[in-house]
């Protein structure tokens, strides 16, 4: 019962945040002087044609009215224009790109597998490497292994992923000819090629965050290892493997999960940058193209989609936190 109340509270807070962010975004993007109707009106752009274009796209309404239409489209889909020329955008409608003649939701769905593939693999890798290196560093505190891991960590924190990515392309791609340097192969098409094309992006994107997590884990682990319950566990005669791998790890993971939740936004940003380094067409390329073409509905749609995605993911991390740390649900 208590858990149910907690979940519903978090859910409510998430919905309020989503509404606030979409309202703010909408206000900012529609109060600024860019006119998509003007851009798509064509030449000669008579006042009549411009007015028609505005009415078709829904820009003749006040921005708040447009916002409500947008929310309505998210829930129930919406139709632009009427008669034969009408275009329908099925729910959840994140808008309609009049430039590409496609619903924003469909455009995002076409590109999202690329971005997800990069982000998920990199996140998995950085957690494994970061937490692993941090644990080893803490247990072997003061040894050359520890010092090497921490030096690597300082350097890794300061190296931008795109720089490392380009150097990696130069070394592993061009010089050693070990891996492909660009492009994306869908998982459903050829899993082996999918993996092969993603190995380098994963390593590059994971490096920086692994460095941060190694330090964080090391600090946390050193603190936990000084706790009474660890001494108790050892006094009970448990093996070192079980003490470290179960009793200590569980408590080390609690702050790591918090930080990971906060890093999901940067993960998406990192994936956007990595896409560009390795010439993959994911969400980032979609947004950058939209920005280049001033395709306002697409820009707003992609931006809000990203915000929704991250806030939803944070909500899930919050729930996971409750599972890891039962104290948090009390």
């Amino acid at each position: 019962m208590r858990a149910l109340r907690l979940v519903s509270g978090r859910l409510l807070s998430m919905l309020v945040t989503l509404l606030a962010i979409s309202l703010l975004t909408y206000a900012v993007f529609y109060l600024l002087p860019a006119d998509p109707a003007q851009l798509s009106c064509g030449r000669p752009c008579t006042p009549q044609r411009l007015a028609d274009a505005r009415a078709f796209m829904g820009y003749d309404e006040s921005w708040f009215r447009q916002y409500l239409d947008f929310l309505g489209g998210l829930v129930g889909g919406r139709t632009f224009g009427s008669g034969v020329a009408a275009v329908h955008c099925a729910a959840p409608c994140f808008g309609y790109s009049f430039r590409l003649n496609e619903s924003v939701t469909q455009l995002i769905l076409d590109r999202i597998p690329v971005t997800f593939s990069i982000a998920l693999g990199a996140a998995l890798l950085w957690l494994l490497i970061g937490v692993g290196a941090g644990m080893v560093s803490a247990v072997r505190r003061g040894t050359p292994v520890d010092r090497a891991a921490m030096t690597f960590s300082t350097v890794g924190v300061s190296a931008p992923s795109y720089l490392v990515g380009l150097l990696a392309i130069l070394l592993f791609g061009f010089t050693l000819n070990m891996v492909p340097v660009s492009g994306y192969v869908p998982l459903t098409e050829d899993p082996v090629q999918w993996l092969w094309h993603l190995v380098l992006p994963w390593c590059v994107l994971a490096l920086l965050s692994a460095a941060v997590y190694a330090r964080l884990t090391r600090g946390q682990m050193l603190e936990v290892l000084g706790e009474d319950y660890i001494r108790t566990a050892r006094a009970k005669g448990l093996g070192e493997r079980r003490v470290i791998g179960w009793h200590a790890l569980r408590n080390v993971l609690i702050p790591i999960v918090t930080v990971f939740g906060l890093d999901l936004g940067s993960l998406l940003g990192g994936a956007v940058i990595t896409e560009r380094v390795f010439s993959m067409s994911g969400l980032g390329a979609l947004l950058l193209d939209a920005v280049g073409n001033i395709d306002l509905p697409l820009i707003v749609g992609v931006t809000l989609f990203s915000a929704f995605l991250i806030i939803l993911a944070n909500f899930l991390v919050d729930l996971l936190y409750g599972v890891l740390d039962p104290r948090a649900t009390r």
Binding site: T154, P160, L163, L166, L170, F174, V212, V272, V291, T303
Partner: protein, 313 residues
């Protein structure tokens, strides 16, 4: 806070504390090395025209004669010569040394100004929220929570598209970086510290003596936040430099032809095989700048804020 006494340190002991901290910082070789490199970058940023005059080049003139027909610089290491110390840019033949030197100016100015704006917003919002509490604090905390996990890069890219035509892009860039990315981490820390300070004896004492809340916040709480603010500001500068470089790399940062390390690195994508030095020089500059600020920030934190450990976020 750094002192464990329940009273605000008196002037005499404050002097000792400062001297003691200096000695500890001076004993930290890595922090010193970081500080030295930071000073070099600051000097280069300020004296960019002078340094380029030494070389006799500027970052805008095209030297098409230094290029082969394919656009690749002729000669060793991307055209390194007595005239062009770092060689020249492919396609345009602009002097790469001058581009990197002026790029230092761009990075440092954007990094420092965006950090200053972030610190200003963060300290005002964070300390007042922690100090006054109530619904205001709850609202601020929620906003900080949301922004800390926010896909800010996506938003900054998007906002670049709708900047009004006459509006200077760098000002927009600095403002957006500070508002979406910079201030929440500063505000979170100062909020926590202000909450803790509020209950300290010397603050309670001055309230009991009749000091108003604003006096207490400005005269008692804020001065005691200064060490934390210095540490977090130093750590935020490399973050801002990296953010600006990332945006310029994606082509939505500082507009051309103003030199920027990130844009050079972005341009180097298509030349990495034929002219790797075009990636090497701006890349090394960016890496060194970030590393030196991080090392300095790490050292400062160890000295000023002994409780925290490891590289904070």
């Amino acid at each position: 806070m750094s002192t464990d006494s329940t009273l605000a340190p008196s002037v005499a002991t404050a002097g000792n504390v400062v001297r003691h901290r200096w000695r500890r910082l001076a004993a930290d070789r890595w922090a010193l090395a970081g500080a030295a490199v930071v000073v070099v970058f600051l000097v280069v940023a300020c004296a960019a025209p002078l340094i380029c005059a030494l070389e006799g080049q500027d970052p805008y003139t095209y030297h098409l004669g230094a290029l082969a027909d394919s656009g690749v610089p002729t000669g060793f290491g991307g055209g390194i010569s007595a005239d062009h110390w770092f060689g020249v840019e492919p396609t345009t033949g602009r002097d790469l040394f001058a581009v990197v030197v002026y790029g230092t100016r761009t990075s440092i100015v954007v990094g420092v100004v965006a950090t200053a704006v972030s610190v200003l917003i963060g300290v005002v919002v964070g300390s007042s929220a922690g100090f006054f509490g109530g619904w205001y604090d709850r609202l601020v905390s929620r906003v900080i929570d949301v922004l800390l996990g926010f896909p800010w890069l996506v938003f900054v890219i998007a906002l670049g598209a709708i900047a009004p035509a006459g509006f200077p892009k760098p000002v927009l860039l600095v403002g957006v970086l500070a508002l979406l990315f910079g201030w929440p981490s500063i505000a979170r820390v100062t909020r926590g510290q202000a909450m803790a300070l509020k209950r300290r004896t010397f603050v309670v004492a001055s309230t009991a003596l009749g000091a108003g809340p604003w006096h207490v916040l400005l005269r008692q709480v804020l001065p005691n936040l200064s060490a934390t603010i210095i540490v977090y500001a130093t750590m935020l500068v490399p973050g801002m430099i990296g953010a600006e470089a990332a945006l310029s790399f994606l082509g939505v940062g500082v507009p051309p032809p103003t030199p920027a390390w990130g844009r050079s690195i972005g341009d180097a994508v298509s030349w990495v095989q034929t002219d790797p030095m075009f990636l090497g020089f701006p890349g090394a500059a960016l890496f060194l700048a970030t590393l030196s600020f991080n090392l300095l920030g790490d050292g400062l934190r160890d000295v000023l804020d002994p409780k925290s450990k490891g590289l904070s976020r």
